[in-house]
């Protein structure tokens, strides 16, 4: 079930090229599913602060796109998400998703405070959609290194989308971000083998023959659920 970076990329390419899916569709479904997983692990009633605030940090690539869709669905689910985009994206889909969040009146942070106390006090939860498995870790510089450093110092729980930002998709990590919740997208990556928090799978759209081709052996989703706990 745990796949490598190459396999994940190959699968996504096939979905778009051969199965007729569009990036917007897949991103929407994944964002919706991630928001659902978050409500299961951090239900509204369980949040300690007076307001159900959530900070959603979105990088410039596909991982960030899923984060933006997730933020919007969290708003629909009556959380109060604030979005932080460390670096403007040149990706048209990212820009559209960002605009949708703005039009839904989601607040945006213009910078991430380095004083982690401020973040801990303001937000019940931080959604980490900064870097995904496609990121070349060697090329990661500012502002992301600063953002990751801040996330590492947080007491507020973190929910990471696909892989914890800064982790290598194929390796286990000992000094990276330690999220309370990991939502793997489509299929878990190898690095998730060493993950010890709550682990959910999102992406209930994988055609059955694609699952068979990559020997995914995914668990069964129940009823009409968009996510399954691993």
């Amino acid at each position: 079930m745990f796949c490598s970076k190459e396999e994940a990329v190959a699968m996504e390419t096939e979905l778009l090229r051969d199965y007729g899916f569009g990036r917007q569709q897949l991103t929407e479904m994944l964002g919706h599913a991630c928001a659902t997983a978050i409500t299961q692990v951090f239900p509204l009633a369980s949040l300690e602060k007076r307001q159900p605030t959530v900070l959603v940090a979105c990088g410039p690539d596909q991982n960030g796109c899923v984060g933006l869709a997730c933020a919007r669905h969290l708003r629909v689910f009556e959380y109060i998400p604030t979005v932080f985009i460390p670096k403007r994206s040149s990706d048209a889909l990212h820009q559209d998703l960002r605009l949708q969040c703005e039009r839904m009146d989601l607040p945006f942070l213009s910078y991430l405070p380095t004083e982690v106390q401020l973040i801990n006090e303001a937000y019940n939860l931080v959604v980490d959609a900064v870097l995904g498995p496609e990121t070349e870790l060697a090329s990661v510089g500012e502002p992301f290194t600063g953002v990751l450093q801040t996330l590492r110092g947080l007491k507020a729980p973190i929910a990471s989308l696909d892989i914890p930002s800064g982790w290598d998709a194929d390796e286990s990590s000992s000094d990276g971000i330690s999220p309370a919740l990991l939502v793997s997208l489509m299929t878990p990556k190898r690095c998730a083998l060493s993950f010890s928090g709550a682990h959910f799978l999102a992406g209930r759209f994988l055609p059955f023959d694609l699952q068979r081709k990559y020997e995914l052996n995914l668990p069964k989703f129940s009823g009409t659920d968009a996510v399954v706990q691993l």
Partner: protein
């Protein structure tokens, strides 16, 4: 046999008015200063005192336009959420365990417009939920969106029929949403469905609906849009993408 004229659907797209952009600079401790509490109390008050609004054709079209023009949603996105709602409603009204026939076959009849596109998305999700949908799609538009949706279904091994099957005995559960009805006045001698899934908000024609299940779907309406048109949408349960209205 159902005539082709019965297969056109109304535009389901709902537009929304753009809200103002809120950008917070500075420390995040100032965030969340009751920006949304007004929305939440408004919704609670609505469910107590007001009933859900039934839209006329013009209003429905305006809402559609706003969703695309001002809220920057794309057809792909909203259609995916709408189709998912439809499949979810079907599984609530006709749970797999309750269907007598095995495999649990469903026929999805898709017209040439966006309603048909919703149907294609719905069929795909039904397959993922464990049903065995077949699609009748007699008139296919050339737009890439619909071709992609068709490919997605075909690749999920959903069969496309070339003609309406003969119905020999008690049929599988059929359901249509507002096929062939006038958006506002309904159609007394038209199809009488058992289930209606109103997308975004119900249309006036739904006042004539006499079936067992009326669901609301399309859980993507921005709060500002809802307020502008006074839709008085009920609270969806939890993270469900449908809400049963009757």
């Amino acid at each position: 046999m159902l005539g082709v004229r019965a297969l056109f659907g109304i535009g389901l797209l709902v537009t929304s008015r753009g809200g103002s952009v809120l950008t917070h600079t500075g420390a995040c401790a100032r965030i969340a200063s009751n920006i949304y509490s007004k929305d939440l109390t408004h919704r609670q008050a609505c469910t107590m005192a007001d009933t859900i609004k039934y839209l006329g054709q013009e209003e429905a079209q305006h809402i559609d336009e706003e969703l695309f023009d001002e809220y920057s949603f794309s057809v792909d996105q909203l259609m995916e959420l709408a189709g998912l709602s439809c499949a979810t409603a079907v599984s609530k009204g006709y749970p797999l365990q309750s269907l007598l026939k095995s495999p649990p076959r469903v026929l999805v009849i898709c017209g040439p417009g966006n309603n048909g596109g919703d149907g294609l998305v719905c069929a795909r999700h039904l397959k993922l939920f464990g049903y065995e949908p077949s699609v009748l799609y007699p008139k296919r538009p050339s737009k890439q969106l619909f071709q992609n949706l068709t490919t997605q279904c075909e690749k999920m091994d959903i069969s496309f029929l070339t003609e309406m099957p003969e119905v020999q005995h008690k049929p599988q559960r059929f359901f249509f949403h507002l096929l062939g009805w006038d958006v506002e006045n309904g159609c007394p001698d038209g199809i009488q469905p058992d289930m209606l899934i109103s997308l975004t908000a119900p249309k006036k024609a739904a006042n004539h609906f006499k079936g067992r299940y009326h669901f609301l779907g399309g859980r993507f309406v921005p709060p500002a849009l809802e307020q502008k048109y006074q839709l008085n949408l009920p609270q969806y349960p939890g993270t469900d993408c449908v809400h049963q209205l009757n």
